[in-house]
Symmetry: C2
Subunit: 339 residues, 2 copies
């Protein structure tokens, strides 16, 4: 079906001729083409909600960088918005919610999002699929429930997310109600993405690392597990929980194909802990792409040597930073593809 289905085969544990690669935030500010498209929208939210523009930037890295998958351009916070919490994205600062979740009433007032509430994402997926014309698969995504809840309570980014964590300690029952509503919304959303054409799904638990092990199992992994159980029968699911070094053995039991790793995790240790039943994805430090080509090539070689060529998808351990040179990114992609 696809001219290049390496990433789907790698995710499923099927034999691949070479290691596939895509990059978190590959559709983003490292590309002048992205900035040009972005400039056509009034603000970030309008940009995300415009299917034509979103599809356009989704395809750019496939054309320009030669990656083995596209990932739909969107934002993890579209789910809280569809549940009733509008937000703005403030340049160089991050998201800012008009209201936050503080009480039972706030949670009761949230609706469970349906795929139809996020039709603009489904339209973007359909357009992107059409433009991709089966060159490579398209990845859909969502934020993990804990990460979304963290923003919904704090109302913005935070170094500690201490207010969201306070909710676990002071209102555990309400926290579970909130997480359940987010989880149901996310399942509806991801089923919609798959129906629209997403070939794989990645869950981003960006703030996993601020939780301890017990809280992570109770308030995050439990809900990630529900989402995996609902979506994995449809398409391969990848779980990327940043800085969750303490939960690798638990993640190995998830009903998903692929576990994403950040650069603080040793590949061989991860393989031992997670076992051979999962594909691993990652885990270069994006800052490595500030280095010279010799260092980039050595990193690519080391990644493939450490992870192995099978059951492995090359990627970074975090999203690309806006000031990284796109030529270095392309060089890195070519290094992996040449191995």
């Amino acid at each position: 079906m696809y001219k290049n289905d390496l990433i789907l085969r790698a995710a499923k544990g099927e034999k691949v001729e070479r290691v596939p690669i895509w990059l978190m935030r590959q559709a983003g500010r490292i590309l002048p083409e992205y900035k040009a498209t972005r400039a056509r929208a009034k603000n970030f939210i309008e940009f995300v909600k415009n299917p034509e523009l979103a599809a356009e930037v989704t395809i750019q890295p496939v054309d320009i960088l030669g990656v083995d998958a596209a990932i739909i351009f969107s934002d993890i916070l579209v789910i809280p918005e569809a549940m009733g919490l509008p937000y703005q994205m403030i340049e160089a600062k991050g998201p800012n919610f008009e209201k936050t979740i503080q009480s039972k009433k706030d949670i009761d007032d949230l609706r469970i999002a349906e795929a139809g509430d996020l039709d603009y994402v489904m339209q973007a997926i359909k357009l992107a699929k059409k433009d991709l014309n089966n060159r490579v698969p398209l990845i859909g995504f969502a934020g993990a429930p804990w990460t979304l809840m963290a923003y919904m309570i704090e109302g913005s980014g935070s170094k500690t997310f201490s207010q969201a964590k306070k909710f676990f300690y002071q209102e555990p029952t309400l926290a579970h109600q909130l997480l359940e509503k987010i989880t149901q919304s996310t399942i509806n959303y991801l089923k919609g993405q798959v129906a629209a054409g997403a070939d794989m799904i990645q869950l981003f638990d960006s703030w996993a690392g601020v939780l301890g092990h017990d809280q992570y199992l109770e308030f995050s992994l439990k809900y990630i597990s529900k989402i995996c159980d609902a979506i994995e029968p449809l398409v391969p699911v990848t779980v990327f929980a940043k800085d969750a070094h303490f939960a690798l053995a638990d993640m190995a039991k998830l009903n998903c194909n692929t576990i994403g790793l950040d650069w603080t995790i040793n590949p061989q240790d991860a393989r031992i802990i997670i076992g051979n039943g999962k594909t691993l994805q990652g885990n270069a430090d994006p800052c490595m792409l500030y280095a010279d080509e010799k260092t980039i090539e050595a990193t690519a070689r080391k990644m493939v040597a450490d992870f192995g060529k099978q059951r492995y998808i090359a990627n970074l351990g975090h999203g690309l930073y806006p000031d990284i040179d796109k030529n270095k990114v392309k060089f890195f992609v070519d290094c992996i593809k040449g191995l």
Copy 2:
């Protein structure tokens, strides 16, 4: 010499009757008494530079919370300031440097700080020691060279410290020159603190967790090791590298008595990796102090059960947050002391 020297004995691996406890940021905004003293200074920098006020807030938690050690009230960024980079502390935002380090000339222009450049800290230590009157030991501290360098290059806090890390990739020789200058300044500073009366020293590597293992060894632990070698012959040294889960085995080889742990580290795992040659310190999630007393008591019991009563100093895995109820903090301290 001290009415209560539990913490010194625990650090040195000597037998203790009960587990000693102190808390990171115990001298801080959780105490109304701190806020009252703070209000007497024009701004944060003037506060830090006023030995009387600094000594006053240093003693408060000993009087009010009953902790087993005082820690001198200061800021890790006094070293960059003494080296020639003034900064301001902006309310609810964090530090902001007037100029940053970007070139060889910037590094050449930095002076190596002498203890005399930080005489206000030495005076504060002397005053605090006098007021403590041998009730409990006094802890001195400094930021680890990598953490200080991160601020000196970024000029402020950062979620990724990608600009500081870029320096490692693009200017490794300059990075080592900068780290060496910071290290020499820190050794001078800490020797001064010990001469002024500090009984122990803690190094804070707050941004350890943004580095991968290899970079951590080369650009952070190497310099921490130099500081340990210079200071450990004088007084016990504690190294607290936040989120450095990947470097526990390396830290076990440091010439220091105590390793601080954050709450993402499993105590039994840490004991196995680090071995019995070090005292462990930590590691409750400060957010746990938002919970009810039953949960706080259970956490205290679990900490002591998991770490053991010997070679252990109870603490948090990060500093106290300003909105934590001081009565809960006192309750936690009493729980540990009662076990």
